[in-house]
Amino acid sequence: MRVAQQLFNITFNECIPLDCIVELTSKCNLDCIHCYVVKSCDTLPTDFWKSVFLELRDIGCLYLTLTGGEIFLRNDIFEVISFARNLGFCVTLFTNGTLLDEEKIKTLKKLNIYELHISLYSLNEEEHNSVTGDKRSFRKTMKAIHLAVKNKLPLVIKTPLLKSNFPNYKGIVKFAKRLGVRYILDPLITPKSNHDLAPQKYRISVDNLIKFYSDGEIFVKEYLKANNNKENFICSAGRNLISISSNGLVYPCLQFPVVLGDLKKSKLKDILSDKNNLIRKLRNIQPERDFYYCYKMCSYREFCLRCIGIVYLENRSIYSSTSSCCQLARVRKEVYYKKKKGALPWETIYA
């Protein structure tokens, strides 16, 4: 078994938070139409995050992702990253890139981060700016991308797929390939963390989802199938993945904002202990009992990437059997059989 898979399995089974996503701030200099973050004024001080990182280190975290809001709005961001790197974390950064200049990129290079994810919505300036709400954002983001490439930073171009940018997503794929960098195209636009479903109106249509999953340049047939065993029907959230919000609340995942505890009041070790009723409940989920329909009955199960967070945000319950994940599973199944048999499937896709 590959080392990475083995590490995942051990930490998943033992509930060791191998991955932690930390929202250092909810403040952002852009106002993207689809963003799930609910902005607040909370900005916890440097020392708070340093003590959190020390705790994370003690309980087995290796992969630390720093996100926002926009993390480079924090004056102490390089001190925070440097502290995390000195502790031995594998650090990934999520940013819109607009605040990065050559000096900052060079500093990041010296800090040896794992990956730098920059959000780019389109290669069309107007289209990109219409998503971010800032007429200068495209040029700034593109400048950061080119500086990151020039300085050989481990760049990832990240593109949430929206109604407006979908027609041109192939341009981003070509662009990333030309630069020799990794890219991520994400069709799943999530509700806001306060259950506001407004961002979902920007999701691409079912027809476009089918086109997207049919894109042989991006997906091979095998990829469309989800892992079908029980373990894979339970996600990492609260097991080997946790998230911490900008106001110090611990969640199983940023997309699954059930408050497990407050780091301003409790130690992380205690919050993640089995003495915490919520965490115990989460870790005791049994798909055959708790997601009976999805796990036992649904004909799309093999293709379902059931996200407990999306289910919770859309239904205010983790047990619901309906969510936008169902639509994705239906599309993936249709495309899979289309590719396999070279014929139209027998089932209808519902919008």
Binding site: V3, G60, L62
Partner: protein, 89 residues
């Protein structure tokens, strides 16, 4: 490397964590992940504590029923591997 020198870890190029009795090291230059088993983890921890090759041999000799020459050979092989992976300098 002299046997009395402490071993320099290439901290800039690695991220690492001990999980259970194994240590997992990510080399940032190539994004590969490496696993050290429990004995290698023990040696790794001695390296982190800035012990020299000689000191490591001495410590392991006191803990295990293995002669010093064999230990020295095994440790040097391990260090060679770490160096090749750019984990130590």
């Amino acid at each position: 490397m002299k046997k009395d020198d402490f071993i320099k870890i290439n901290y800039e190029n690695i991220a690492y964590q001990k999980i259970k009795s194994n240590t997992y090291i990510v080399t940032l230059s190539d994004h590969k992940i490496h696993q050290l088993d429990d004995i290698a983890t023990h040696i790794w921890e001695l390296i982190c504590r800035k012990k020299s090759v000689n000191e490591i041999v001495e410590i392991l000799h006191n803990e295990y029923d293995v002669d010093k020459d064999t230990l020295l050979k095994d440790i040097n092989e391990f260090l060679h591997e770490l160096k090749q992976k750019n984990i130590i300098l």
